[in-house]
């Protein structure tokens, strides 16, 4: 029985782990890998104390810092799939590989995952031209026409990652304006290889063995009828936002309609005594690495207060 199990190895989970270990609570941290969603970022320029760092190097430094602590057990390559509350108020959790771990307290730092479009062709052609990691797969689309779906920072960055490789990049935006950093918006809008299509609602990704196009509804100007249009592309890069990884605790804690776990911002406590939540899985207003770290520290200290009082 652990005093504390931390679920997740992003910046928030690691921060909680370092603090919990230094307080000598009997702690375990369970994660698929380290670094959180930023791990695929080519350069993070707002990680405080470092001018620029790649997501990969950030992940390594987080892991190194955590592994330097003596009093923590670390399970990597693991995913928590279920959490139950027992009659005595402690928790039991099951991992993907079938491990069962028991704890008195939990810090949920499971972050979020990519939202999908939910249209025909998306699942069937996943990895066959439908791409969810642009930095990974952009070099495979050299000289080709591709579409990026989305209108905020991650979509804009995806376009920039593709510019050195793809011949033509269509950016399909559902609304009538781009969101995201103005500097990045300007780079995208003015680039000769990029065509931004506003009012475009994707309907289907087509192709047999591999993607050969995307069909979308063109909402056009107000007062004109919608039109269905098709683009011949071999790649569709989906960058339409994030969903919190809260499914496995929804029966225990209060969540808001999008699935974010509701927390008390003073302590990071959830509606379920014994469960704290931090970072992107919560209803915190800003999803940022630096903020997750602070929340992780806050939660670990609050858990310690409870454990110490017994």
């Amino acid at each position: 029985m652990y005093d504390l199990i931390i679920i997740g190895g992003g910046p928030g989970g690691v921060a909680a782990g370092v603090y919990a270990a230094r307080k000598k609570m009997r702690t375990a941290l369970v994660t698929g890998d380290f670094g959180g969603q930023s791990v695929v970022s080519a350069g993070i320029e707002n990680w405080i104390g470092t001018k620029t760092i790649s997501g990969f190097d950030l992940a390594k430094s987080l892991e190194e810092h955590l592994r330097a602590q003596k009093d923590i057990e670390i399970f990597t390559g693991e995913l928590v799939t279920a959490v139950t509350k027992k009659e005595d108020g402690t928790f039991s959790m099951t991992t993907k590989s079938g491990k069962v771990l028991d704890a008195k307290n939990i810090i949920l730092a499971s972050g979020s995952r990519r939202k999908r479009l939910g249209i025909p062709g998306e699942d069937r052609l996943d990895g066959k031209g439908v791409v969810f990691c642009t930095t990974c797969d952009a070099p495979l689309f050299g000289g080709q026409d591709v579409a990026v779906v989305g209108g905020a920072n991650s979509a804009l960055e995806s376009v920039l990652d593709l510019i050195p490789y793809a011949k033509k990049i269509y950016l399909l935006v559902r609304g009538d304006a781009l969101k995201g950093d103005p500097v990045t918006q300007d780079k995208v809008k003015t680039h000769p290889q990029v065509e931004v299509v506003f009012g475009a609602v994707p309907q289907e990704i087509t192709g047999d063995a591999f993607v050969n196009g995307i069909r979308y509804q063109d909402k056009g100007k107000v007062g004109t009828p919608d039109e269905t249009k098709t683009l011949a592309v071999t790649g569709v890069f989906v960058e339409v936002g994030l969903l919190p990884n809260s499914d496995f605790v929804k029966a225990l804690v209060k969540t808001e309609p999008y699935g974010h776990v509701v927390v008390d911002p003073a302590t990071q406590q959830t509606s379920c005594p014994g469960i704290w939540a931090i970072g992107d899985v919560t209803d915190t207003l800003y999803k940022q690495n630096n903020i997750s770290v602070g929340e992780g520290v806050k939660a670990a200290l609050n858990v310690y207060d409870k454990v110490k009082l017994g």
Binding site: V39, V40, A42, K128, C133, T135, C136, D137, A138, L140
Partner: protein, 80 residues
Amino acid sequence: MSHVTIYSTPSCVYCKMAKEFFAKNGVQYEEFNVGSDLKAREDMVAKSHQLGVPVIDIDGNIVIGFDQKNLETLLGLGVK
């Protein structure tokens, strides 16, 4: 000793993770950059029927993505 091949791109972080995992466990591997090596890209697609990287071939067993548990099993490594 297993024969291990990884198909990767230079910008792919999961490829880096897989290679670090191999290095840490003393696994020798051959690497192809499918961003520039078109022949290797064809081989990768023929083996995995898809385009995403990394693709790892361990004695003919194909692993798509960095699936640590699966790699441990195929390489006969003890779980740490």
